[in-house]
């Protein structure tokens, strides 16, 4: 078996005194694309936030590429794992141009050759060079999400945390972003841990998925199960039926 890119053990997370995630355990292999699905408030995004260090109140074990995680964001971790947020309208600084936004991680880590790196990254995410010095309000939602993905990739991380990267976009743009994510993963050998409540997105982009409900993982299944409808847990079956799938006996 390959080394685990992300490994969670007995992970419980709380916001202040309110516990939201209980005893979650799973591992994502290197190069795998893993989805967390479930209804709103089931704790999917919270797991991503705990891994990245934005939700510091957790107990248990989190390790990324074999290294245990601390409870806050740190510089070394930033180079291995980055996150793409759900809302492309809220995740870009309103007073900074695309260029500033992409050059910032390079400046933080003292990496040179910023000019060429920014240009190459714009090409990689399919943004024309003329967008380079625009402000976020001069971009469409899909373009903004491309910038957000480019920003996450600037440090060449190997693990990407995707927090519903397409749910704030309209359908045609969703397809573009999903294709982009698929292409980037193939080209750069990235590991994805993706949160979504959209099952078709899962079957398009992911290898395995964990179904979450009320802060617990109720089932971990291969993505093939979505094609055959062979899900074991009653809640997973409900979720699958709700998104239009035909159930088969597990």
């Amino acid at each position: 078996m390959k080394k685990a890119a992300i490994h969670l053990e007995d992970l419980s997370i709380s916001y202040g005194k309110t516990p939201v995630v209980f005893d979650v355990e799973f591992s994502v292999a290197e190069g795998e694309s893993f989805a967390l699905v479930g209804e709103s408030g089931s704790g999917k995004s919270t797991i991503l936030r705990a891994i990245s260090g934005l939700a510091p109140d957790w107990t248990g074990k989190i390790s990324v590429l074999g290294k245990p995680r601390g409870h806050a964001p740190d510089r070394a971790f930033a180079k291995t794992c980055q996150m793409v947020f759900q809302d492309p309208y809220g995740s870009l600084h309103p007073r900074k141009t695309v260029d500033d936004c992409l050059a910032e991680p390079l400046a933080v880590h003292g990496i040179g050759g910023r000019d060429t790196r920014v240009k190459d990254m714009l090409d990689a995410v399919g943004l024309d060079q003329r967008f380079r010095f625009r402000f976020p309000h001069q971009l469409s939602g899909g373009q903004r999400q491309r910038v957000a993905i480019a920003r996450a990739l600037m440090l060449e991380p190997r693990v990407m945390l995707l927090d519903e990267p397409t749910s704030a976009l309209d359908v045609s743009v969703q397809a573009e972003i999903l294709n982009l994510l698929k292409k980037l993963r193939r080209e750069q050998g990235l590991t994805y841990l993706m949160v979504t409540h959209n099952l078709p997105v899962v079957s398009f982009l992911c290898d395995r998925m964990a179904v979450m409900r009320h802060g617990r993982v109720v089932e971990i299944a291969k993505v093939d199960a979505l094609k055959t409808g062979r899900l074991a847990n009653p809640y997973s079956r409900e979720l699958y039926a709700a998104s239009g799938g035909t159930l088969q006996p597990a």
């Binding site: 964001p73 600084h93 309103p94 141009t97 933080v108 880590h109 003329r130 967008f131 010095f133 402000f135």
Partner: protein
């Protein structure tokens, strides 16, 4: 040139920033009151820079034969009790006023911004301590606090500037804190933190630029208050010392003759009102243009 500024796809950082500045500028020009305010402030600046060329007489040259002359063709605003030309003194006084408002803004605004942003960004006990100090300063009336400081530091224009700056920063700290709290947990700040940026970097490069516009607006609106406080200190003899032509001090001298020789106190009074009004208009106009929340409504 304008096409270059308004280009949808700027080709350099400079062009993008100039383009944004240009849009703010044209929006400001559409507001007539703001233009009036800007003109008044511009006149003040020009007067201060070219005072020796504009003023017909020396601001301190005495002419006891011509004391307390009413306004005339020779002395547009009359003369004071030592025969000095009031118009020339008002023109030179622009230098002192401008010095005071810029120095106060340069000292107070950055202090307030940093205190407020640090307080809002970290929250918790840092917030409680910093805001406690801010509240203590905020709870005391400005002029009284400034008086106390000048009394402790000794009268003079530098000390008046320091005293006013010390009383002015808490408001900016409050504004910056309130702004910071609204976007402290937003995703674009989280994203920079995830990139490994230090708290200092996040505050200086990402938080402060967003607080800056509302602070600029507030500083401009406060200019009137600063001028009045400076004039108040001058009036009480604690600001600029004679023979410096400070407007507040001039009013104070004119008080003795206010019933018979009204122009001695009135002329510098007009100058104070006009300049205060100019800053208020400009501040109002800037708020409409710069304040992101106001801007979205339009």
């Amino acid at each position: 040139m304008i096409d270059w500024l308004l280009d949808d796809s700027p080709t350099s950082r400079l062009q993008a920033n100039l383009g944004r500045a240009w849009r703010v500028w044209t929006a400001l020009l559409r507001n007539p009151l703001a233009v009036v305010g800007a003109l008044i402030v511009l006149v003040l600046v020009v007067m201060a820079i070219f005072a020796p060329l504009i003023a017909p007489y020396s601001p301190v040259g005495q002419d006891l034969a011509n004391r307390l002359m009413p306004p005339s063709a020779e002395h547009w605003m009359g003369t004071d009790e030592l025969g000095r030309d009031i118009y020339s003194r008002v023109v030179y006084g622009a230098r002192i006023t401008l010095l005071i408002v810029t120095m106060v803004a340069v000292i107070a605004a950055p202090i307030g911004l940093v205190v407020g942003a640090v307080s809002g960004y970290f929250g918790g006990w840092v917030d409680r301590v910093l805001m406690g100090v801010t509240d203590i300063f905020l709870s005391m009336p400005k002029l009284i606090l400034a008086l106390a400081f000048v009394a402790a530091l000794g009268p003079g224009i530098e000390n008046a500037i320091i005293a006013i700056a010390i009383t002015a920063w808490p408001v900016y700290a409050r504004i910056a804190r309130a702004e910071t709290i609204t976007f402290r947990d937003s995703e674009f700040i989280s994203a920079v933190r995830l990139q490994g940026a230090s708290a200092t970097r996040v505050i200086l490069r990402h938080v402060l630029p967003l607080c800056a516009s509302s602070t600029i607006v507030r500083v401009t609106l406060d200019m009137a208050g600063i001028i009045l406080t400076a004039a108040g200190l001058g009036f009480l003899g604690l600001g600029a010392q004679p023979p410096l032509p400070e407007w507040g001090a001039m009013i104070s001298r004119g008080r003795n003759f206010i019933l018979d020789q009204w122009w001695v106190a009135t002329m510098p009074g007009f100058a104070i009102i006009l300049v205060s009004l100019g800053f208020c208009f400009l501040g109002d106009g800037l708020r409409d243009v710069l304040d992101p929340k106001q801007g979205e409504k339009q």
